[in-house]
């Protein structure tokens, strides 16, 4: 059973999250090991697996980006672990800036950071975060709607566009993490992306 089937949903990206949560609680009451303590061992194992499957499905589908990553993987027939769906790719229009950032990062690593350098990195980071926000808005907005409205013949094209956007997002997140590391701000305030 794939994650959409667990919730009895079609393979579409528009998901009513309030309804998803209601259904998650309802199914949890059915599968959770707490309610199968007195059952025979094989039934307990089944409940444990069903419950784990339900939790994984809910975790994936409640988050619009994880939902897209999962869909891409599902459409390509791959069953690897979550996350590493796409190779990171630099946004083409930002290539030049990326070189500058990498240089600044190398400098920061080698000899520390003066106030001006630091301020420049903060500006860069904030700009990349804005760019990341744009990419995510595009993914959960027009691209997701495009998938849901597409005819079978258009699907490959929409999938390719989503993969491209996911690759750029992955790249931006890595660079933002590096910038935060260099700025020493990765501990608090900003959640590191690398781990998720």
């Amino acid at each position: 059973m794939d994650h959409f089937e667990v919730f009895g949903l079609p393979r579409r990206l528009a998901v009513d999250t309030a309804e998803l949560q209601r259904k998650f609680y309802e199914l949890s009451r059915r599968y959770h090991p707490d309610f199968h303590q007195a059952a025979p061992p094989e039934e307990q194992v089944r409940a444990l697996e069903a419950s784990a499957g339900l939790n994984a499905a809910y975790r994936t589908l409640r988050d619009p980006i994880a939902r897209i990553e999962y869909l891409v993987r599902l459409e390509e027939g791959r069953d690897t672990k979550e996350g590493a769906t796409v190779k990171p790719k630099a946004p083409p229009e930002l290539l030049e800036e990326m070189f500058e950032i990498q240089e600044a990062l190398a400098e920061a690593k080698a000899g520390g950071l003066d106030e001006a350098g630091r301020a420049a990195l903060v500006v860069q980071r904030d700009r990349l975060m804005a760019r990341l926000g744009d990419e995510e808005t595009r993914l959960v907005g027009p691209l997701s709607q495009g998938w849901d409205a597409s005819q079978p013949a258009e699907r490959q094209r929409v999938l390719a566009a989503m993969k491209e956007a996911l690759a750029i997002r992955a790249y931006l997140r890595t660079v933002i993490d590096d910038l935060n590391d260099a700025l020493g701000e990765s501990q608090e305030g900003y959640v590191t992306y690398r781990r998720h």
Partner: protein
């Protein structure tokens, strides 16, 4: 289904509770004398093992054989705890794997010590119900890792309990509140106990308690507050009396207990006085709440970072938190309440007794598991990311932190050498990128792979975290469909064989009957009084007349003689008598100490005004 009790196995105190079928309410079970809290202290005496209040009384007199705060050592290695060993009067020898405590010629592990506490609670519950109790839900700090949870489960088994569920303390507390007091919404549970700190953020809706994120520090609690005060007192005594007491374990215990008592008083009073008689001098000191806050401010503030991190993991804003609940004895500290209130911008709840609320919630979870409640469901998370060490020592995360449990992850492995039949796996827990910076949980050997060219075997490994937050591992070779056998070597845990041996041993030792234990406790109490009176006679003999001294000596000798017999009633009677005979002397000594303190204060004031 048979009865299941809920147990809060705490750093400082432990409790057992159940849900009353008739009223549907949680109740804590008192002992024969009406005491609800069982101090988590175990003393290994020549006559046998003593636990609870009786063991607590031995802290000062037999520091090397009396183990307390053992929860801080559960599931840990020597390297983890070596820095605080100088504050612990019992001996922990350097060794690989889990911590081992040296008491006399015996070596005990933290799960064995905890098992003694659990067994005492089990007996308390059995006395209450008049029937055997074999199943329990035991609580642990939410931020406990796999080793610490497993150690707790082992302790239960050694105590003869089937631990049907390990439940997180803040979540248990939310269940206790949830019974009647919680509206739907997002709640933050801030739980600071004797040795551990947790923050959990939950969504409560339609009877479902869904934990969204948790964070914490399994090595931060009231013990650390006491230690901060203790260190300060040591300095103060050194400068006032020229004596350094840091290496005198009896004096250190006395100071630690005095520091704890002062901390507790300063939660309700603005200032308090410490008077501690030592060999050769009496230490006297006033301490104000402001001074205490200066000592513990940093520790209190260090809990705020984890609160912000948990919130960040939920993706919610501070304004989304509807209610804040305080749990754990340390949340009585006014400074802490202020800080929590400032952080969340809300007045925290603390209507339920913070010492009891976790046990009450454990009883609710026990009742759910027994089928007694079907309207409530707890969905908890795993606090730390779980991963496997890959090439170059990098961690590949398979289950991220704050994933709802139960949860599972599959990963494929293969061989790197032709004909290889064994594959090693190193499972770690933590948020760092390198395996060496994370917590090593266990090494697994996947065996009995058929010899094939390198890269040919496809071994599917399933890591499953069950509803207890404990890891289970399964492996299958996909080409042959054979289950690969797994040998587990826990890094900081007991092996299956060790647990079984301890279970057997505990049955063998269990026969010590109640009468024998009561006798030991009575003797211990007599010893405590004898020690105090001897010291009082040495220090204050000239404060009272010859006739009074004579009366005290007679009572003392009578008790000493009775102590050698097995007559428990007589020992208790004479202990009371000796106490009564010394009352006046104690009063006189206290007056003298106070006068002395006043005099020295006046002297210092005079110095100030003339300088």
């Amino acid at each position: 289904m048979s009865r299941i009790v809920g147990i809060d196995l705490g750093t400082t105190n432990s409790l057992v509770a159940y849900v009353d079928e008739k009223t549907g309410l949680s109740r804590v079970i008192p002992d024969g004398e009406g005491r609800v809290l069982l101090p988590s202290v175990v003393s290994f005496t020549d006559e046998g093992v003593v636990v609870g209040d009786a063991a607590k009384r031995l802290l000062v007199r037999r520091p090397a054989a009396t183990v307390y705060s053992v929860k801080r050592l559960m599931g840990r290695g020597y390297e983890d705890v070596k820095e605080e060993l100088c504050y612990l009067p019992f001996k922990v020898a350097p060794c690989d794997g889990i911590v081992r405590i040296q008491v006399g010629d015996r070596e005990v592990t933290p799960p064995e010590v905890s098992a003694i506490v659990l067994k005492s609670l089990k007996e308390r519950a059995e006395a209450h119900f008049g029937e055997p109790v074999e199943k329990a839900v035991i609580t642990v700090p939410a931020y406990f890792n796999d080793s610490q949870r497993q150690a707790t489960k082992d302790a239960g088994r050694i105590a003869g309990l089937d631990v049907v569920r390990i439940v997180n303390e803040p979540t248990a507390a939310s269940l206790a509140y949830g019974l009647h007091r919680l509206k739907a919404g997002v709640i933050a549970v801030y739980d600071l106990g004797g040795g551990t700190f947790d923050i959990s953020i939950l969504r409560v809706k339609d009877g479902v308690f869904e934990v969204l994120a948790t964070n914490g520090n399994t090595h931060l609690g009231g013990d650390d507050f006491d230690r901060a005060i203790l260190v300060w007192l040591l300095d103060d005594i050194l400068s006032k009396h020229g004596v350094y007491l840091g290496r005198d374990s009896e004096a250190m215990q006395e100071l630690r207990l005095a520091a704890e008592a002062a901390k507790v008083r300063l939660s309700t009073e603005e200032r308090t006085t410490l008077t501690i008689p030592f060999e050769g001098f009496t230490y006297h000191r006033e301490i104000t709440r402001a001074e205490l806050e200066g000592l513990i401010g940093k520790l209190v503030d260090s809990t705020l970072g984890p609160c912000r991190m948990a919130l960040a993991d939920t993706g919610l804003a501070l304004s989304d938190i509807d209610e804040v609940v305080l749990v754990g004895g340390s949340t009585r500290v006014p400074l802490l309440r202020r800080r929590v209130q400032e952080l969340f911008g809300k007045t925290p709840h603390s209507q339920l007794n913070p010492d009891e609320v976790v046990a009450l919630g454990a009883a609710v979870q026990a009742h759910i598991l027994a089928g007694g409640i079907t309207s409530m469901l707890l969905l908890d998370v795993t606090p730390l990311s779980l991963g496997i060490e890959t090439l170059g020592g990098i961690v590949s995360v398979l289950i991220p932190r704050n994933t709802t449990i139960p949860t599972s992850a599959r990963e494929m492995f293969t061989t790197s050498v032709d004909g290889q039949t064994v594959v090693d796996l190193h499972v770690v827990q933590g948020e760092r990128e390198l395996a060496k910076d994370c917590r090593s949980l266990a090494r697994f050997e996947l065996r009995a792979i058929d010899p094939m060219p390198a890269g040919m075997p496809k071994i599917e490994v399933t890591l499953l975290i069950d509803a207890n937050g404990i890891l289970q591992v399964q492996a299958k070779e996909l080409r042959t469909g054979k289950a690969a056998s797994i040998e587990v070597k826990p890094t900081y845990g007991l092996t299956e064989a060790e647990v079984e041996r301890m279970v057997e041993e505990s049955f063998a030792y269990a026969e010590a009957d109640v009468e024998a234990r009561l006798l030991i406790e009575t003797r211990n109490e007599a010893d405590t009084v004898i020690t105090h009176v001897e010291r009082a006679l040495r220090q204050g003999a000239d404060l009272v007349g010859e006739e009074e001294r004579g009366r005290i000596r007679t009572a003392l000798e009578a008790l000493r003689a009775a102590r050698q017999t097995d007559d428990r009633d007589r020992i208790r009677e004479l202990t009371t008598e000796l106490n009564r005979a010394t009352e006046h002397l104690a009063d006189v000594m206290m007056d003298a100490a106070l006068r002395g303190a006043l005099a020295s204060k006046r002297a210092s004031e005079i110095m100030e005004s003339t300088s």
